[in-house]
Each structure stands twice: as structure tokens, then as C-alpha cells.
Symmetry: C2
Subunit: 272 residues, 2 copies
């Protein structure tokens, strides 16, 4: 039996419901964050809670719990569910709205946990399909995945495993990952109009011999001229991108820089 | 006691819930339609059901009920709730997703009813605040109201009662209404990249002496040069717009063309 928090109540998952008056159901209004546990230990939890509170600010939603209360609830959930390797998602919605439109107080909080096995994907190349799009509230992890979900069929038909958003020729992010390229001497990720992922932040702090790691906007042309490219996220760590829109990136196979980045990321995760 | 349909179950509103696995809660993925009843009679129901099925197509969601089944459920709801003058909302969500991301089958349907008194707003001018924005899936009535809800505070502070979206200087729509201007001899509404409202469609079919009613994209400059402007929607019918961003439209007060349009709309509604 899996348990889920709805606000301060820990409920069996089958009973974890929201009334249809909730603004996520009425108007798609909400945000979330997602972190992993390895052997029951939350990884980079404070970074994720920082971003959770930041997203709430950006979307004008109040979190009705303190950081310490959230940590205590997360700890209870981990003990209750006993899923050592997992993903934990916190969802905050616009709450129960009387008119189905206006923001309400209090907001509603959901905390759920699902099994998640973390693998090192250094040898597993993924192909992307590019799409011209800019998310609406780039700096908040809103629940708005309308484009990503609508594009799934087209993406699969194109033989790709993930989407890459670009806008006015500038490369942005994937729906659930950040995106990096590797040039002769730089490891680059977009600076503006993206969600600043926690793993992205960790990579920006790495020391990779021979390379400067930097956030700076770059173009689709830069991408196609890159030596390597990769996605970063809580579930993928660094995941080599071998082609975009059918065009190979670099040698069209996983490269050494992604491998080195994963080595260091897994080291960081072990320290948590 | 108000009743709500969740799929084929008619439930007291307090029990009308969706499990948090639903894709509206997880990813803001869903659509809806909304029509009114006057004296217990649904107004323009077939137009709304047409659009409901169209939105579902656009968003890749299956409606698990036929049109006749929906009509029968709506009729049951009207009898059960006994709210003669009301708004009825059908929401269709991405359904219960195992991984919290992939579209699932079946989808989930909600049908809810709330009191709604229809007034003729011909004498009640509203002010708008313009905002540069294009909705993501313009031809579908998706539940994505992220921008509209985020902008409410700024809108109220600016003294406006509604938002007007424009994009690259072309006037679009309001979050919950279409938008028209009146020139010397035309009544115009945007043609592209908007939701085609049912009342908008009815207005396009009216015969207003001295004017051609047409759908054609126009600019913000055209708007500020207009004689009159108005919003159209299921709740507003035709609602005079007297100012945008603090600049008066025409004489800055409700005009005769909106009045004539409302006269004809109320006539149409009586025939339903």
C-alpha cells in the first residue's frame, strides 16, 4: 500500500483525491517539484525545496507549511512507504476556488512517492526532436505540460525519445530536462527563459579538466556544431544526446565529457 | 445539495473528486466547455458540444460518451439540481496516468452546474488591460489559464476588469471572451489563433443594418481607432469595452451597436 500526503493528511493512494473545485482541475493552475531518494536518503533536498518555494512565489501561491514541516512530512512518507529508491513529487495547486477561476487560500499540497531506479546513462544515447516553443512561466516549475504531452505522438513517430524546445533560433530546454552542449573548450547550457534544474546547477559547479562550464544562451547552429550534447535531470543525471531532428551531434554517439560529468554527479549523490 | 457527474456517476458535490493521478493535477492537461441554462433550458447546447468534441480532437483526448449520452447526463443533472438559471461546465482530463505524464485511457469527465444569472450588459462598460500573449493551443478550449490567473492582481491594480491578449500587434481574444471592434461600417473579430466562441459565432451570423459583420485579424491601432468595442461570451453576451490600457475606445462609453447586438442575441436565446 502506497501512501500520499494531501495537505497534512497521510492517506492510502486510492483515497488521495482532490475535489473537482481545485484550480488544477478547473484551470491547470499549479506547480511541483521532484527529487529522488537513494537508499531512503533524499538527494539535493534543500535545492529542490528552494525551487519549490521559488515556483510558488512566481505563481502567487502560498505554501501553508514551513520548510521544516515539509521535511518532516517527507521523512514520514519515506518511513511509511518504504521505497528506498524513489522519486518524490510535491504538487502545489491553486486550491479550492469558489468561482472556478480566482486564486483561493489555502492552496492544496500533494506529496507522493513512486519507485525510481537511478541508472548511469553514459552509454545510452537519446535522440531529440526540436520544437519551436517558449514555456509560459519559464522560471517556475508549473504543471503546464500541454505542449509536451500533445507532442508525444509526433515525437515517437519521428523516432525521438525527447523534445528540445528552441525559440527564435535560441536553444532552451527539454520539457523535463535541461540541455547542454560541449564545444572544444566549453560545456554550455542556456541562461535565460528556462527552468533552472537542480542537476543543471550541480553541473555548473563541476570542475571538468580542459573545459569551462558556463550558462550562456546559444543557437541551434551552435548545437549542430557541438562535439557532444546531453540532457540533465533528476532522473537522467547526464544523458548523452546523439542526434537532433535526425542529424547526428558530434560523432553521433555518447562521448567522454558526459561520462566524466556522470562520474562526478554520482560522486556528489553518494555524499548526500 | 448540488450534484456533479464524475464520468457516469452522479455524486454530491462534496464527493466529486479525482484521484491525484489525474493528468489535470499532474500536468495541467485537460479541456472544458461551458454553456448556460435559462429557465432550465440549455442555450446553444449543440454548438457547445461540437466545440467540446473539437477540443478533445485537438488535444488527443477521447470522449468516452456519445453526444446523446452527454445530453442525457446533462438533462439528468438539470433535473436533479433544479438550478433553472445556471452555467454547466464539462471538463475532460487526460485521465489517470500510471507514470504521471503519459496520456491514459479512459479520460475523466466532470459535469458540474452552478447558478448563473444572465444580464444584459449593454449599459455597463468594462475596461481592459492588454497583454502580449498567444495561447498554446488556440483552437482548443484547454484548461490552461496560467497567464490569466497570474495576471489577475496586476489587472485589478490597473483598474481593469478583464485582460485583452494581443500578439505581434495583432489583437486576439480575452481569456474567457472573444473581442470585437466596430468601425464605420464593419463589426470585426479576430480570425486566427483564437478560440472560436459560440456567442462569437452567433454574432457573425447577425444582420446589423449599416454594418458588415466579419472575422478578420486587426491591429492594436485599429482597436484604438474603433468607434466601439465589446467582449462576447456565454456569460457576458455582448459587453461594451469603454477603455483599453486607460485609453478610451470611441466615446469612452457603451454604444448603440453593442446594444443592437445584445437585442438580437437575447432574441436568439429566447428561441432556444
Amino acid at each position: 500500500m502506497n501512501y500520499i500526503y494531501i495537505n497534512d493528511q497521510l492517506l492510502p493512494s486510492a483515497e488521495a483525491t482532490l475535489n473537482v473545485r481545485d484550480l488544477s482541475i478547473q484551470r491547470g493552475y499549479g506547480l511541483f517539484d521532484f527529487f529522488k531518494t537513494i537508499g531512503g536518503r533524499p538527494i539535493f533536498l534543500d535545492d529542490h525545496l528552494d525551487r519549490f518555494f521559488h515556483s510558488a512565489d512566481e505563481m502567487g501561491l502560498e505554501v501553508n507549511f514551513t520548510r521544516e514541516e515539509l521535511k518532516s512530512m517527507i521523512s514520514n512518507l519515506i518511513n511509511k512507504n518504504n521505497i528506498p529508491d524513489s522519486g518524490i513529487k510535491l504538487i502545489l495547486t491553486g486550491g479550492y476556488s469558489d468561482d472556478g477561476f480566482s486564486l483561493s487560500s489555502p492552496t492544496n499540497l500533494v506529496i507522493q512517492q513512486t519507485p525510481l531506479i537511478i541508472k548511469n546513462l553514459s552509454d545510452s544515447g537519446i535522440k531529440l526532436m526540436s520544437y519551436h516553443y517558449q514555456r509560459q512561466v519559464p522560471s517556475a516549475k508549473s504543471i503546464d505540460y500541454v505542449q509536451a504531452i500533445r507532442l508525444q505522438k509526433q515525437m515517437r513517430e519521428s523516432g525521438a525519445g525527447e523534445i528540445l524546445y528552441y525559440y527564435n533560433n535560441v536553444v532552451g530546454e527539454s520539457p523535463r530536462s535541461n540541455f547542454f552542449i560541449v564545444t572544444d573548450n566549453e560545456i554550455l547550457t542556456a541562461e535565460n527563459n528556462i527552468l533552472k534544474g537542480v542537476i543543471r546547477g550541480k553541473i555548473l559547479g563541476l570542475n571538468v579538466p580542459g573545459y569551462t562550464v558556463a550558462e550562456r544562451d546559444f543557437t541551434m547552429d551552435d548545437l549542430f556544431a557541438a562535439k557532444e550534447a546531453f540532457l540533465s535531470s533528476t532522473t537522467r543525471q547526464a544523458h548523452p544526446v546523439v542526434a537532433v531532428d535526425g542529424q547526428p551531434i558530434g560523432k553521433g554517439q555518447p562521448g567522454p565529457v558526459v561520462r566524466e560529468i556522470n562520474r562526478q554527479l554520482f560522486e556528489l549523490m553518494e555524499k548526500e
